[in-house]
Amino acid sequence: MVDWLIEPFSFGFMRTGMAAAALVGVTCAVIGTYVVLRRMAFIGDALAHTVLPGLVVAYMGGWSLFGGALASGLLTAIGIGWVSRRGAVREDTAIGVIFTAMFALGILLMSRLRSFRDLSHVLFGNVLGVRPTDLIQIGIIAAGVLLVLWLLHKELELTSYDPNYAQVIGLKADRLRFLLLILLAFTVVTCIQIVGVILTSALLVTPAAAAGLLTNRLPRMMLLASIFSVCSAAVGLYASYYANVASGAAIVLACTACFGVAWCIHALRTRWVTMSS
C-alpha cells in the first residue's frame, strides 16, 4: 500500500505537479471562499474564460503564455469593475457580454492556428507538464495573493457582509471588490496550468462551497476548503497516474466528490437537529 502511494512521486514531474496543484488549490480555496460568499462565482468563471484570447495572442506571437493570460485576465477584471461601477448595466449583464465576447475572440484566434491541439493544454490543463520554473512562478503568485488576503482579511470580511457600515467608517467597498477581482485574475492564471480554462471555476467554487456546508466560521471555511483542494489534487494525480485519465478533470471530479460528501453530512446534520428539536 505504502509503495502504491509513494511510487508516483518517485518521478520529478509528479512531485512538481503535486506541489503546483497544492499551491494553486490552497490559493483557489482561500480566495474562492470570498468568491462563494460574495456570490461572485459567475465572475470567477468569466475571468477564467476571458484569458483565452490573451493566451492565443501570446502563443501566436511567441511570447510568454503566462504574460498573455495575465494581461487578458487583468484587462477583464478592470473592464468588469469599470462597467459595473458606472452602473449603466447590471454587473451580471456586463460580465455576460464581456465573457462571451472574449471567449469567442479566443476561439476565433485559435481557429487561425494550424491545430486546436497546439493549445489543448490551455483548455484542459496539464498539471504533469508544470516545469520547476513554472512552479516558482506559481509559488510567488500564490504567496502574494495569500499575503494580500491575510493583510486585508478584516476589511474584506466586513465589506462582504456589511458594505454600508464599511463605507461609513471610510472603507471603499468598491475598491476592495476591484482588488479582489485583480487577485482573482492572478489566481485564475495559475489555475489554468492545473485544470485548464474550462474547469478553473470548479477549483474556485467547489471546495469553498463544500466547506461552507460544514462550518459557519470564515477561517475554518478557508482551512477546510484548502484541505479539500489539496486532497482532491492528490486524488486527481493518483487517478491520472494509475488510471491514465486527464489529471485536471480528475482533480475537479475529486472536488465534486468532496462536495457530495459535505452535502450528505450537512443534510444528515440538519435532519438530526430537526428531529432532536
Binding site: 470580511e157 462582504s160 457582509y161 456589511d162 454600508n164 457600515y165 472603507l171 462550518t215
Partner: protein, 246 residues
C-alpha cells in the same frame, strides 16, 4: 504604533460649541432614483439629545440617515457633524443599517461582528488587540449578548441582531449614532435594552438620531421628534407627536 486610517484622514477635533448635527437646505434623491426625497431639509441637533425621525414609509427617513452617514451624496445643501463636514472623522459617526442591508448568513460570529466597531480606530494592517476584545466583551455583557458571543449572526433573533448592531456602534465609541429602524421586529426585552442604552448615551453627551415608525412612547424615549413629510422636516414636541400621528 503606526496607524494608516481608512480614509487617509487622521483624527479631526470637533468644533467647540458646534451642534452634533446641522443640516442646511439639504436636497437628496432616493437611492438609485431620480425622485427627490429631501427638499431643503433644515435641522439643528444639539449634542446629547435623543431624537426620533418619524414619517410614513417612503418619506425619506432612511435617505436622510444615509446622506448624513456619507452613503449618499446630497444634490444641494450642507451637512456639519460637530462642525465638520461628512467624513472628516469617520469614528465619530456610527450608522446602524436596517437589518435587511446586512448579509446575516455570512459566516461570522457575534463577537467578530461587534469587533468590527474597532476597525475604524485600527485602520489598515493593524489587528485587534486584547484591549479591543475586552471592550467588545464589556459591551456584549451590557447588551445581554455575552452568552451569544460565539454564535453565528444568523442564529440570533431580530431583537438580538439589532442589539448586536448597537453593540458595534458602542464599541466604535461614536458620538453621533444614526439608527435606521432599530425597533423593527424587536421583542419587548430588546426594546427596553435599546431604550436604556440610548438613555445612557444621552447622559454621556452622545447624540442619537433614530428613524422609527413606532409611535408609542415617543415622549418617554426621545427628547426631540422630527416628522418627515413631502421631503420637509417638522420639529414637534414629543408629547404631541403620538396625538398628531394617530
Amino acid at each position: 504604533m503606526f496607524h494608516i486610517p481608512y480614509s487617509g484622514r487622521h483624527h479631526v477635533e470637533r468644533l467647540p460649541g458646534a451642534p452634533a448635527l446641522q443640516l442646511e437646505g439639504l436636497v437628496a434623491r432616493y437611492p438609485g432614483s431620480e425622485v427627490v426625497a429631501l427638499q431643503g431639509v433644515q435641522l439643528i441637533l444639539p449634542a446629547g439629545v435623543r431624537a426620533a425621525l418619524v414619517g410614513p414609509n417612503g418619506s425619506g427617513k432612511s435617505t436622510l440617515l444615509k446622506v448624513v452617514a456619507g452613503l449618499l451624496r446630497p444634490q444641494a445643501g450642507s451637512i456639519r457633524i460637530y462642525g465638520q463636514p461628512v467624513g472628516a472623522c469617520h469614528h465619530r459617526v456610527a450608522y446602524l443599517p436596517q437589518r435587511g442591508e446586512v448579509d446575516w448568513r455570512f459566516p461570522v460570529t457575534v463577537e467578530r461582528m461587534v469587533l468590527a466597531g474597532r476597525y475604524v480606530h485600527l485602520g489598515w494592517l493593524r489587528q485587534p488587540k486584547r484591549a479591543d476584545r475586552e471592550q467588545v466583551h464589556m459591551v456584549l455583557e451590557q447588551l445581554g449578548l455575552a452568552a451569544l458571543a460565539q454564535r453565528q449572526i444568523s442564529q440570533l433573533s431580530g431583537g438580538q441582531q439589532q442589539r448586536a448592531l448597537l453593540a458595534r456602534a458602542l464599541v466604535q465609541e461614536a458620538e453621533l449614532l444614526l439608527l435606521d429602524e432599530p425597533l423593527s421586529a424587536v421583542d419587548a426585552a430588546s426594546r427596553a435594552i435599546i431604550a436604556g442604552v440610548l438613555d445612557q448615551l444621552s447622559s454621556q453627551g452622545k447624540t442619537a438620531l433614530v428613524a422609527t415608525h413606532h409611535l408609542d412612547r415617543l415622549a418617554e424615549e426621545y427628547d426631540h421628534v422630527f416628522a418627515l413629510e413631502d421631503g420637509l422636516l417638522r420639529d414637534l414636541p414629543a408629547a404631541q407627536m403620538s396625538l398628531e400621528l394617530v
